[in-house]
């Protein structure tokens, strides 16, 4: 390592010996498994150990698999409905808890909003299993509302955080100026607050969408038989003989997440 000689020449205040090497190793460790996964999704053969040439075969196979089709549709449906409802609820909650004089119970409200971040998922999952079992047995209803409401609940904190951050960085004097120029509170909200808040809302919604799309544990416990999302379908498949079809599905899901996070990153950067 070059670091061993640095004490005698080229001393740098910011460098610590070996840290750069460890960091690079860490990045390699983070990306190597994902890269290998993506690579094998293009494998022509059905083996997940031997490379038999480039092919899009498994993407086609996954695309034509009826179970995958159903799971994809359900995943997107649940993620869309849950992220939109979570974002609306979180936006309202953010407006009601940010830039205000503190009132009694505010700390309890914060704790409740952030609860899904603190409680282990498996705990929430079995608690929901219990409660929804009671509701199912009394009403007999088996539909999607269970999945959607569970997803909406745990998406709320993820949507809430960027919206709140955006609100806190907003210039309060703009709204005062609007009020001074005869705008009613409702029009001030529509013409000033909402346009300024918009990037935060979009960012929150995208995070919520990704979180919902990726969820395994809660979905696994809440879903009725036959209500498989892509992650729960994959979890089931992992117990069987694995073919590169799983790799193809993973790569597709991965791409969606990366695109969403990239947009989120760009939106946040524009702000600062």
């Amino acid at each position: 390592m070059a670091d061993t000689t640095s004490d005698s020449f080229g001393f740098s205040v910011r460098r610590l010996p070996g840290f750069t090497a460890l960091a690079i190793a860490c990045y390699a460790m983070l990306y190597a498994p994902i890269m290998a996964l993506v690579a094998y999704s293009f494998n022509a053969g059905s083996s997940i150990a031997v490379w038999e040439g480039f092919s899009l075969h498994w993407y086609g196979a996954a695309w034509q698999n009826e179970k995958v089709q159903e799971a994809t549709i359900l995943s997107l449906l649940v993620a869309t409905v849950s992220s939109i409802s979570a974002t609306i609820l979180a936006s309202m909650a953010a407006l009601g808890t940010t830039r205000i004089r503190p009132y009694k119970g505010l700390t309890a409200i914060y704790a409740m909003i952030n609860q899904p971040l603190m409680v282990p998922e498996i705990v929430t999952a079995v608690a929901l299993l219990i409660v929804f079992a009671i509701i199912k047995s009394t009403t007999g209803y088996q539909g999607l509302i269970y999945l959607i409401s569970a997803h909406t609940a745990f998406c709320i904190p993820f949507a809430y955080l960027p919206i709140r951050a955006r609100l806190e960085s907003m210039d309060l004097s703009l709204e005062v100026a609007a009020a001074d120029l005869y705008a009613t509170p409702l029009r001030t909200f529509k013409l000033i607050t909402l346009p300024l808040l918009w990037p935060g809302i979009i960012a929150g919604m995208m995070l919520a969408f990704v979180i919902s799309l990726d969820d395994v544990v809660i979905t696994e416990f809440v879903k009725a038989p036959g209500q498989d999302t892509l992650p729960t379908y994959m979890l089931g498949q992992l117990r069987r003989v694995i073919t590169p079809e799983i790799h193809a599905i993973s790569t597709a899901l991965l791409s969606i997440s990366i695109i969403m996070v990239s947009i989120f990153f760009l939106l946040n950067r524009k702000k600062s």
Binding site: Y31, M92, V131, S250
Partner: protein, 324 residues
């Protein structure tokens, strides 16, 4: 409304002495504002009560009921579930014994979570430091590269690890190719696999808060340390570490808590035999069919998490008090 009334006291200190009451107009405006804020927050809280906090209370209740024959509960009070968390009764002579399997699983959960946390610190600390010492232009890119795996599906990342450590996976093939080993080493379906997997999936949770602390690190202080004859190691131990401690504690909590409650990673990489708490809980709602025991185990897990969180909040408060 009591909420509005209570909060009036907050504004009294801005009034001149001798007039503790605020004007009627101000009080009314204040009350309306609080009403509005609460009304805005209620819908979100309602959903959370329905699908997050409320079910936890129901589960607490269930842990004190008797188990049904085929899952579910019988509506009669019982501490059997809590009793079975650590104890068992011999089938033949009815003597009380420690439930060895459960003790093992609790111990494995705590052990693997702790080791995962330590591994994440060892890898995450140099990485966070590396990012914090990049130039302003490249720093965001390095950070972004940490964020991507953070937002990538946990199942996919676990699957990716499973793929490379399996007997025919890249790691074994590489080791055989280099000549370190002749036959594949069984890594998958061991505690080691779970630990590696959890380190892999939770590493970004260590790096991000650590980086947030290091970004604020005043390198003038590092310079001062070197100026005062501290070697690199002593600057690290006496100057950098104490200053980034809040981030280190936050990162440790963020890794330890989900590790302790991990379900997917031990299920995929531990292969059924090497269960952790999350899998034990699931078992009670599946094959085990002892819902009160499952509920009690969940509450126990939650309690450990809460203790960890309280320790964290205490530490965080102490360090904010110390540094103003």
């Amino acid at each position: 409304m009591s909420i509005g009334g209570e909060s009036l006291s907050h504004t009294t200190d801005v009034k001149p002495q001798g007039t503790p009451r605020i004007s009627g107009y101000e009080a009314a405006a204040r009350k309306a504002e609080v009403h509005r804020n609460i009304l805005l927050t209620i819908p979100a809280l309602l959903v959370l009560v329905l699908a997050a906090s409320g079910p936890l209370l129901v589960m607490l209740l269930y842990s004190f009921l008797a188990p049904g024959d085929y899952g579910g509960v019988v509506w009669q009070p019982s501490v059997d579930g809590w009793f079975r968390v650590f104890l068992t009764r011999d089938i033949f002579d009815d003597t009380l014994m420690l439930q060895d399997a459960h003790v093992t699983i609790f111990w494995r959960s705590i052990k693997l979570s702790s080791m995962t946390t330590v591994l994440c610190i060892l890898l995450g600390f140099p990485t966070a430091y590396f990012i914090a010492t990049r130039s302003d232009q490249t720093r965001n890119l390095w950070l972004f590269l940490i964020t991507i795996p953070f937002w990538t599906n946990l199942l996919i990342r676990t699957f990716a690890i499973m793929e490379i450590i399996r007997n025919e996976g890249i790691v074994n093939n590489l080791l055989i190719f280099v000549g370190v080993i002749d036959v594949p080493v069984q890594m998958l379906y061991t505690d080691f696999a779970i630990m590696v997997g959890m380190t892999y999936v939770y590493l970004p949770l260590m790096i991000l808060p650590l980086y947030a602390s290091m970004e604020k690190l005043d390198f003038g202080l590092v310079e001062a340390g070197y100026d005062l004859y501290a070697t690199r190691f002593r600057v690290l131990r006496r100057v950098i570490l104490p200053l980034v401690k809040p981030g280190l504690v936050a990162g440790s909590i963020l890794v330890f808590i989900p590790s302790l409650g991990a379900y997917v990673t031990p299920r995929v990489l531990g292969g059924g035999k090497n269960m952790m708490l999350g899998n034990l809980i699931e078992l009670q709602f599946g094959q085990g069919q002892n819902w009160p025991l499952g509920a009690a185990l969940s509450i126990a897990l939650l309690a450990i998490v809460m203790v960890a969180l309280i320790v964290y909040v205490r530490t965080a408060q102490r360090s904010t008090q110390a540094h103003g």
